[in-house]
C-alpha cells in the first residue's frame, strides 16, 4: 500500500537506525536500545514498515543453544531509498514511489 503521509519522528528514528551501517540485519531489542523507543512503539512500527515493503524480516538461529530464534530486520531496497529521501529531506514520497 503506498504511503503518502510524512514519516513520523519515531519512524525516522527507526529508518536512521536501520540505515546506519548499510543493510545489516538488526535485532528488535538492539533497535530499541539505539533509538530509545519502547517495545510498544517499535513493534507496531516494524509491522507497518514490513507491510509497506520498507523493512524485511528474517529468522536467525540463536547464538547459544537452548535460546529461542530471533527475528532480525533490515531495510529493503525501497526502504533504503525511502530512508534517504525521508531522513535527508523529510519528503512525503512513498517507499515504492521513491524506488520508482
Amino acid at each position: 500500500m503506498p504511503r503518502n503521509r510524512r514519516p513520523s519522528k519515531q519512524m525516522l528514528m527507526v529508518l536512521e537506525a536501520l540505515s546506519s551501517g548499510g543493510r545489516q540485519w538488526r535485532h528488535g531489542y538492539d533497535l530499541m536500545k539505539e533509538t530509545g523507543l519502547q517495545s510498544g512503539t517499535l513493534y507496531p512500527l516494524l509491522m507497518r514498515m514490513t507491510g509497506q515493503g520498507l523493512v524485511e524480516a528474517e529468522w536467525r538461529e540463536p547464538a547459544q543453544p537452548g535460546r529461542p530464534a530471533r527475528h532480525a530486520y533490515r531495510l529493503t531496497v525501497a526502504g533504503v531509498a525511502f530512508a534517504r529521501a525521508g531522513v535527508g529531506s523529510d519528503t512525503t514520497l512513498s517507499g515504492k514511489a521513491a524506488l520508482a
Binding site: 528488535g28 531489542y29 530499541m32 519502547q38 517495545s39 510498544g40 509491522m47 530471533r70
Partner: protein, 211 residues
C-alpha cells in the same frame, strides 16, 4: 518472579496478536530473553502487550476477538448472572422471584400447591444449569471452538425451552418466559453472526496464505 511475570504478560500479548501475527509474537518472545538479561524484561513484555492491544482494532482478526469479548462480557455473562439470580430466588422483570411466584401460585391455586412445590427444585436446578451453560458458552466463544459453541448452544436452547414451558404452564402468562425467549433469540442470532464472521476471516486468511 519478575521473569515469570514478564513471560506471562508476553504470552497474553501473543494471544492478543492472534494467528495472523503469530510470527510477530514469536519475534517479541525471542527478544524477551535479551531484554531480561538487561533487567528490562517486564518493561519489554508490557510494551509488547500494549503493542498487541494497539494492533487489535487494526486487524480483522483483532476486531473479531474484541467483538467476541464484548459479546461474552456484555451479554452472556450478565445473562448467566440473571439465571443464577433466578436460581437463588431473586426477582427479575418486576416479579417477586421464583420462590415468591411459586409460593403465590400455590396460594392462588391451592389445588396445584403440590405441583408447584414439586416443581421448585427442578426449576431452580434448570436455572442454575442455564447459568453454567451461558458461562461455558462464553468460554467456548472466546476459544473460537465453534463445534463446542453449537453443542452448548443446543443444550441451552433445550433447557430454555423446558424452562419456558414450565413457567408458562405454572405461572400462566409469566412475562419472564417472553424475556427468556427474546434473550435467547438475540443470543442465537448474534452467535450465528459471529460464526459467519469467523468463517469469512478464516477464508480470507487461507486465500492470503495460498496467494
Amino acid at each position: 518472579m519478575t521473569d515469570r511475570l514478564a513471560r506471562t504478560i508476553m504470552s497474553l500479548a501473543a494471544l492478543s496478536l492472534g494467528d495472523s501475527r503469530r510470527d510477530w509474537a514469536r519475534a517479541m518472545q525471542g527478544e524477551l530473553e535479551a531484554a531480561s538479561e538487561d533487567g528490562k524484561g517486564l518493561a519489554f513484555a508490557t510494551g509488547c502487550l500494549i503493542a498487541a492491544w494497539r494492533e487489535m482494532p487494526v486487524q480483522a482478526e483483532g476486531r473479531f476477538v474484541l467483538a467476541t469479548y464484548a459479546f461474552a462480557v456484555g451479554l452472556l455473562l450478565p445473562v448467566a448472572a440473571l439465571q443464577f439470580g433466578c436460581a437463588a430466588g431473586y426477582s427479575y422483570a418486576g416479579q417477586a422471584g421464583s420462590f415468591g411466584v411459586l409460593a403465590q401460585g400455590s396460594v392462588h391455586q391451592p389445588y396445584l400447591a403440590t405441583a408447584y412445590l414439586a416443581a421448585i427444585p427442578s426449576l431452580l436446578a434448570l436455572w442454575a444449569l442455564l447459568g453454567i451453560g451461558h458461562i461455558r458458552l462464553a468460554w467456548a466463544m472466546l476459544d473460537q471452538d465453534w463445534p463446542r459453541v453449537v453443542r452448548i448452544g443446543t443444550a441451552n436452547v433445550a433447557m430454555s425451552a423446558t424452562l419456558m414451558i414450565f413457567t408458562v404452564v405454572l405461572f400462566l402468562g409469566d412475562t419472564g418466559a417472553g424475556l427468556q425467549a427474546a434473550a435467547l433469540a438475540v443470543e442465537l442470532a448474534a452467535i450465528h453472526g459471529f460464526a459467519r464472521w469467523h468463517a469469512r476471516i478464516s477464508s480470507n486468511a487461507l486465500s492470503e496464505a495460498l496467494a
